[in-house]
Amino acid sequence: MVRFSTNSLWLLLLLATGITYWLGESGQLGHASMVPVFLIFGVSLFKGLGVVLDFMDLRHAPALWRYLLLGWLVFVIGMILLAYWLGLQ
């Protein structure tokens, strides 16, 4: 995965938060569509990757710890998306 400097990552995370906020405020959500929900959790996944790999410094940790935290992130977000899809049925 691409590695950003600490300062660049911080700015990207703020930008990502702005995107989530804009999606929430713009009325894109709440129309029984998976697309905006995929987008907000895609952004969330990107932010989580940045925090886990670089802020927590797990990029340089034993692989087991990296996989445990990234696995948690991917599993939780995946299940949230599944639950949202079930709510649309």
């Binding site: 925090v51 802020f55 939780v76 639950a83």
Partner: protein, 192 residues
């Protein structure tokens, strides 16, 4: 190529005990997140209507504060690793300021809901909202206590280039609080 040839061996930053605590916390919050997500499927309209009473701007500002706090903590650890504890202490103070901002906004949010007569028994959405954000709120407070202790000890010159294990331990806990909010914010405040 082994050690001493430019490739560092893998290293977990911070104490193993805090990482085990982090795993336990992620598991607990993970169960709560999924409980919310699946409970929502039974009454989407109620969850959407209740969620519309939340202040998305407050949620987004709090996200920015936690992310900025995490960045400050990273900079503090880097400064101390480079034997610059005075700069490290300033970054820790900045992180605490971000945490304080988060706490003030959450208190405003909670008091607003309390004044509107909203509590755990109002409906399923608010039960999850209060439980999840309240549980997270106490973790922010705990992380701030750790950071305050680390700040005092950093200022006193306890940490430096060869002694920053405790600082990395506290930093890991702070980042976990940030990671949890990164999932909590879109789940509770945005997804509808």
């Amino acid at each position: 190529m082994g050690k001493g040839h430019g490739i560092e061996s893998p290293r977990l930053a911070g104490d193993l005990a805090v990482w085990l605590i982090i795993l336990a916390e992620l598991l607990a919050f993970g169960i709560l997140f999924l409980s919310y997500a699946f409970a929502r499927t039974f009454d989407v309209a109620l969850f959407n209507a209740s969620q519309s009473t939340l202040d998305l701007t407050f949620g987004a500002i709090n996200t920015a504060l936690l992310i900025t706090g995490s960045w400050c903590v990273v900079r503090a650890v880097h400064a101390v690793r480079q034997d610059a504890p005075a700069a490290g202490a300033r970054w820790l103070l900045a992180a605490l300021a971000c945490g304080s901002g988060f706490v003030v906004i959450k208190v405003l949010e909670f008091s607003d809901k309390a004044q509107a007569g909203i509590d755990l028994s109002t409906n399923t959405f608010y039960m999850f909202y209060i439980l999840l954000t309240g549980f997270h709120f106490f973790h922010v407070l705990a992380a701030m206590v750790f950071l305050t202790i680390l700040l005092v000890k950093t200022r006193a010159g306890h940490y430096g280039q060869h002694n920053h294990h405790a600082l990395e331990t506290g930093a890991a806990f702070w980042h976990m609080v940030d990671l949890l909010w990164i999932v909590l914010f879109p789940l509770i405040y945005v997804m509808r």
